[in-house]
Subunit: 177 residues, 2 copies
């Protein structure tokens, strides 16, 4: 159910997704959604965002910090999950979709937290590669930029390879040099 919502929100944004569409995606009727989400559309969007965050924590973050693996393995596996998250570059980022809308909006805090979370995750892997805290954070920020930017440029240029190539390059950022 939340996955169906996510697909809509990612591709159409918050304002661009109507309750009619959200209802159709679930098979339920519009009114029935208010039984599950009494606070309406905003609650649905937040639920989706939290759900994605949980997936990211479970898969990406837990992988990047899994001390049973070597740093190289953590990074490689973590990036695989990211590739999956964005469907090889064919799926827009939910954070983008929600941050681009309505000027100062309701999701700002959640988005801010989520981004910090991503930075933390990659700072962690940087530390595993024996980088200093400051360098690790610098690289982590660049990884975020690369992911977000390549998603946009991939889509804008109709070329998912740009996203794939970027993920490969991220691996090099840590392992080579």
């Amino acid at each position: 159910m939340l996955n169906g919502f996510a697909k809509l929100f990612r591709e159409k944004g918050y304002e661009g997704t109507s309750l009619a569409e959200l209802a159709e995606a679930t098979g339920l009727k519009k009114a029935s959604l208010y039984h599950r989400f009494p606070k309406g559309k905003e609650e649905m969007a937040k639920a989706v965002l939290l759900n994605v965050n949980n997936w990211v924590e479970e898969h990406v973050f837990n992988t990047l910090t899994n001390e049973l693996l070597t740093p190289e393995e953590r990074l490689k596996n973590g990036l695989q999950y990211i590739k999956k998250l964005y469907d090889n570059g064919n799926t827009p980022c939910l954070l983008q979709a929600f941050s681009m809308q309505s000027g100062i909006n309701i999701f700002n805090q959640l988005i801010n937290d989520s981004m910090s979370y991503w930075v933390d995750a990659f700072t962690n892997i940087g530390l595993a590669f024996d980088l200093s805290q400051s360098v690790a954070k610098e690289k982590a920020t660049q990884v975020l930029i690369d992911i977000q930017g390549s998603l946009i440029v991939s889509r804008g240029c109709n070329n998912p390879n740009i996203f794939i190539d970027t993920l490969n390059k991220i691996e090099d950022i840590y392992t080579k040099k």
Copy 2:
């Protein structure tokens, strides 16, 4: 007038911007907009996109290819215009705002062309730095990714410095190493 539209579209997206807001931004009434833009909202959005493209061509592209300047000067000045275009990282990118909406939308072709245009512009400066065509294009794509990504991450982290730092780093990509 188009600048007022641009501000709205950039911050609220296409669907998120209403005709009432567009009218208010001009001082005209809603109905009057249809005198200037008979095809309505879509025509307004396209006019804004073309207007921005013209600005970019006039300032960014012309600077990057100005043979009266050294490659270093072209790059430095071009980046200055980009900094201005995005108001030091405080203004979202119109291409992002339009590409993120409505699934497969009406602007896809225009967005695709605009992105190619940016890649061309930076491929050009790469060639001025004596890079091969393929390496120049590779670097140009990365510049696009850096700009688009840093705009998103800057905003997401409430830290415009991320955008500024990225522009500085782009200069290094060409001038150092």
